[in-house]
Structures are given as C-alpha cells and as structure tokens.
C-alpha cells in the first residue's frame, strides 16, 4: 500500500518546473508529492482507461477535465494559469540574427527555412499553432495560410482550417511531430529552424524565442473574442471530425474521484492556488488571479477561487 502521506500529481509536462518549485516551497515536508508528467491527454487516459490512481490532475487544457473525466473521475476544475504561443529558435537557425516581431512571417515562408509545429490532431499546441498562423496571416496580411496549404494537406478558407487525419507533409518546409516537446530535439539538433511552442517550454529549455503580439498568441483572456474568430476542424473528413474554436490557453486542475489522499491533495492545491501562484510568472505561465473555478467545488478551496456557474 502506498504511504497515506503521499500524493500523486498527473500533470502536463509543461508544468514540471513550476510544480517542482512549489513543492520545494510547500511547508508540510511530511507529505511526499509525486509528479508524473506526460501529455495532458495521456495523463487523463492513464486514470480513465488504465486504472492508475492519481490524486491531482493538472492539464494544459482545462477543457479536457469536463470532456474526458466528468462525471466518473471528476466533477470540478480550477483554471489557474495561462500560457502563450511563441516562436522558438536557436543560434543555429537560419536568419536568427535578423528575425524580429515584424519580419518573422516572411522568414518562416522562405524556401530554405524549416518550421515545426506539433500535430493538431494529437496535441493542443498543434492546433493552437494553426490558429496562431491564421490569426497572423490576417494580422500581418501575409499569405501564411498559403504556407499551410502548400506544405501540408491542411485546407484553409478565411479564418477556418480543416486538418485531415492523418496529416501529411507535402513540401520540405514543415516538420510535424505528435508532441511539441518532440520538436525540441530537432531544433537543438539543428534540423529545424523555428518551432511554435508554449512560452513556458521556451523559458524552461532556455531557448531563444520570439514573443508574438497578444492578438495572435492566445495568451490574453481579455482577447478571447479575437481568438474565437478562428475555427479549426481536426480529424477533418472522418467521423471523428471536431471543431475547435480559438480560446485563451489556460491550465486547469482537479482532485480526482479516485484520489486516495483527497485531504492532503486539497491542502496542496490550496497552497498552489495561493502562495504558489507567483511561481508561474517566472516560468512563463502567467497565473490567473483569482483562479476561476467551475463545477462542484470542494469547500476546502472555495474561499481562494472565484466560483463560476
């Protein structure tokens, strides 16, 4: 039997660094807090399909909790931090010395430059990269949508994109991996010049990155309306087709119904949602203050969040 004073956190890989920091700050050292990072969907599936137990689930996309875990494995969630899309690169990247906030669309469209993003069908960062491209093609008035159409089998019409499954590469300018972190090795190996990543990843990997304007980086809850103009159809052409609408990037967490140590878990979350929130700023994941809570919120944390219907 596991120690009653241990709590397990299944979390999105991008939360590893801030969570480690928060744990080091956590005053109750008797509690062992185990971090298990993976893709957000994997984290959920380990609980729902593989019968593993986790006390806390923290996802890079808060919407996964109601969609995949309600009602059997969870019935509430809290949005506590955000993230944004940036364009990462290295010193070895072509035109690294010239790039700036204005000319990056031209640079990534150059024939000898390789751009990477993750598979929109598999990874939220992927479809968000597509949204960013569509938003910027309008924002800069540059044919970035044509880049998608020429190099992949993604169809674009105005502010709407259709991503078939499987996604296919037609040209040589784009590289796709199932997870955004898998692009990093390509970037560090010099195979890729630029890649769309979460800002947190760029910060934690100490990569160079180009901050994108808030209108296109999905980091600002205030601009939710702007983002929502874009629609991406993933699994287009299959019965699994789903329409995703542009929305701010926000992390969500919950204590699962299979938790073995609910009490300690809630205590830790309470700490995370109060003193812990500062940490997320340093890691490139601006916190949401106060955190936004939805569903059947446990009383232990009700006072530190803003409860929404």
């Amino acid at each position: 039997k596991s120690k009653p004073s241990a709590i397990t956190v299944f979390h999105a890989g991008s939360l590893t660094v801030p969570l480690q920091k928060i744990i080091s700050m956590y005053p109750d050292k008797a509690v062992e807090i185990r971090l298990e990072g993976s893709g957000s969907v994997e984290a959920v599936r380990k609980i729902t399909e593989l019968g593993k137990r986790a006390d806390i689930l923290a996802s890079a996309d808060y919407r996964l909790i109601p969609k995949m875990m309600y009602p059997k494995y969870a019935d509430w969630y809290v949005i506590f931090a955000t993230n944004e899309i940036v364009l990462t690169y290295t010193n070895k990247s072509k035109y690294a010395s010239e790039i700036n906030e204005k000319n990056w669309p031209d640079i990534i469209m150059k024939g000898d430059v390789k751009l990477g993003f993750s598979d929109p069908n598999k990874d939220p960062c992927g479809y968000r990269s597509v949204i960013t491209l569509l938003l910027s093609s309008k924002y800069y008035n540059k044919p970035l949508d044509q880049l998608l159409m020429n190099e992949t089998n993604i169809k674009v019409k105005g502010m709407e994109a259709w991503v078939p499954d499987p996604i296919e590469i037609k040209g040589k300018g784009i590289v796709i991996r199932p997870k955004s972190v898998e692009l990093l090795s390509l970037l560090e190996a010099g195979v890729l010049d630029y890649a769309f990543e979460y800002k947190s990843v760029a910060v934690q990997h100490r990569l160079k990155y180009m901050q994108l304007p808030p209108e296109i980086n999905m980091g600002s809850p205030a601009l939710a309306k702007v983002y929502s103009k874009v629609k991406v159809h993933i699994f287009s052409g299959s019965e699994k087709e789903k329409v995703l609408t542009g929305a701010p990037i926000a992390y969500g967490l919950t204590v699962t119904k299979v938790a073995e140590n609910r009490e300690q878990a809630l205590k830790f979350i309470r700490f995370l949602l109060t003193k812990g929130l500062d940490v997320f700023k340093e890691t490139g994941q601006p916190p949401v203050r106060p955190p936004l809570a939805y569903g059947n919120i446990p009383s232990e944390i009700k006072d530190v969040v803003k409860v929404n219907p």
């Binding site: 499987p166 590469i169 991996r177 199932p178 898998e182 090795s185 390509l186 560090e188 010099g190 195979v191």
Partner: protein, 251 residues
C-alpha cells in the same frame, strides 16, 4: 526437478500470456476490420514491417562480418568493441533517437551527403530503418558472436585442408553451422525494430510505422482503438515466429 522447472516455466509463460490476453480480449472483429485493417493501419504495417526487415538485412550484412572478426581474429581493443556494440541497448530509446539525429541529420556534413543520395534521416523511410537498426545492433552481433564461437574450428581446418579458402570455408562451413544463431539474432532484431516507438517519434514520425500508429491511436482515441490496431501486428508476428521456429527447428 522437472516439476519445479515446469512450475517456474509456467509462471513465466503466464506472466507473458495473461497481459497479452487481457490486451486482446474484448475486441470485436468489426473493430479489427475498422481500425486494424483500414488503409492507414495497413500502410503503417507495411512501413513497419518493410523497414524492420530492411534494418535486419542491413544488420546481417554488417553484423556477420563484425561478429566473425570479433571471434576469429585477435586484435587490440576487441573487448572494447564488443562492449561498445552493446551500448545502444542500454540508453533510453528517446536518447538513441536524439543521438542518431544529432549525428546524421541532413544538415550535418555526413547527413548532407546521405540525403543527397536519397537517404535523408529525418521523417523518411531510411530514418526508420536507421533507428530500427541502431537499437537492434547488440542483438544481432551478440547472437552471432555466440554462434561463431560455438563452431568447432577443426571443421574449418579440414575444409581449408581440402582446398577451401578462408572465405569459402566461411560461407560453406562457419556460417551454416552458426545458422541457428543467425536465425535467433535476426528474429530478435526484427522484433526489436518493430517495437520501437520512442526513438522513432524523434527521428522519423513520418512515414508512420505501425507501432507509432498504435501508440498515437492510444493517446488520441484510447485503448479500444489501439488494441484493435495492434491485433493484426500481433497475429502476423506470432505466425512468423511459429513458422520460423518450426522451420529452423527442423535442422
């Protein structure tokens, strides 16, 4: 003794069979047709099987000479080379992928030459082959070293006395007598290549090989679909193993 042995053996067999069975149970034939035999899965199966076969063939071509030299010639650094050969087996698969990528990607001088010869590493069939070969090297070479060491050198001497050169002796005597090890080494190399995912995700996500597809479908659609996708692979593998075991058992 035999009772005890049978008990332990049974334990090991159940340890393998129970998980495999619980994985396969509860999958309907409709699901298998729909997910395991759709065009994407069939293509991935084709990619996976052909890449792993090619990787195995390449390993035979280069591993047989290496193992022969390591057993029949005495030179400095022999033990070191034997140990180096085993190293790809101990590093995490993702790291193996990274290492290959760093060394041979098409922007390195070597990778540039190779990619101009049509053998680009990233996202290409040859990338898959390279990954599969890399992770299987120790299997092939170690099996062959054991095999060649087991061949009585008297037989080689007699053959040479009868006029056969070292090369004729190798082809007609040494290699055939090590054939059991060659079969085992090839079988394991092939299987090991087939099962690779971690390094493939880094080096060559495309063209998608069956094992990448299975894992991906698990992440995207969940267990049921992944199981259905995996079943044709398991059936093919099991049949292959049975046939090869039976065939090579006959010798």
């Amino acid at each position: 003794m035999i009772q005890g042995f049978a008990a332990l053996a049974l334990l090991l067999i159940s340890f393998i069979v129970v998980p495999l069975a619980s994985l396969l149970l509860g999958t309907s034939s409709q699901e298998i047709v729909k997910y395991g035999l759709d065009s994407e899965a069939l293509y991935a199966l084709y990619i996976g099987i052909s890449a792993s076969i090619i990787a195995t063939v390449l390993l035979i071509i280069s591993g047989v000479p290496l193992a022969y030299l390591l057993t029949r010639r005495d030179f400095k650094g022999r033990d070191l080379i034997k140990a180096l050969v085993d190293l790809p087996f101990v590093i995490p698969h993702g790291v193996a992928g990274i290492a290959l990528l760093v060394a041979f990607n098409s922007r390195t001088p070597l990778g540039f030459i190779l990619s101009n010869l049509g053998m680009k590493l990233e996202d290409s069939f040859w990338g898959i082959v390279s990954v599969m070969a890399f992770v299987s090297v120790p299997l092939m070479v170690d099996a062959l070293i054991d095999g060649f060491s087991g061949v009585d050198t008297d037989l080689e001497h007699v053959a040479r006395g009868l006029g056969a050169s070292e090369s004729e002796t190798f082809w007609r005597i040494t290699l055939p007598l090590a054939s059991r090890s060659l079969v085992t080494g090839s079988l394991l190399s092939w299987a090991r290549g087939m099962s690779e995912v971690g390094a493939l995700l880094i080096v060559a996500y495309y063209p998608k090989s069956i094992n990448v597809l299975i894992m991906e479908r698990f992440w995207t659609y969940g267990l049921q679909v992944a199981k259905a996708t995996a079943i044709p692979l398991l059936v093919i593998s099991l049949t292959t193993f049975v046939l090869i075991r039976r065939f090579s058992g006959r010798r």
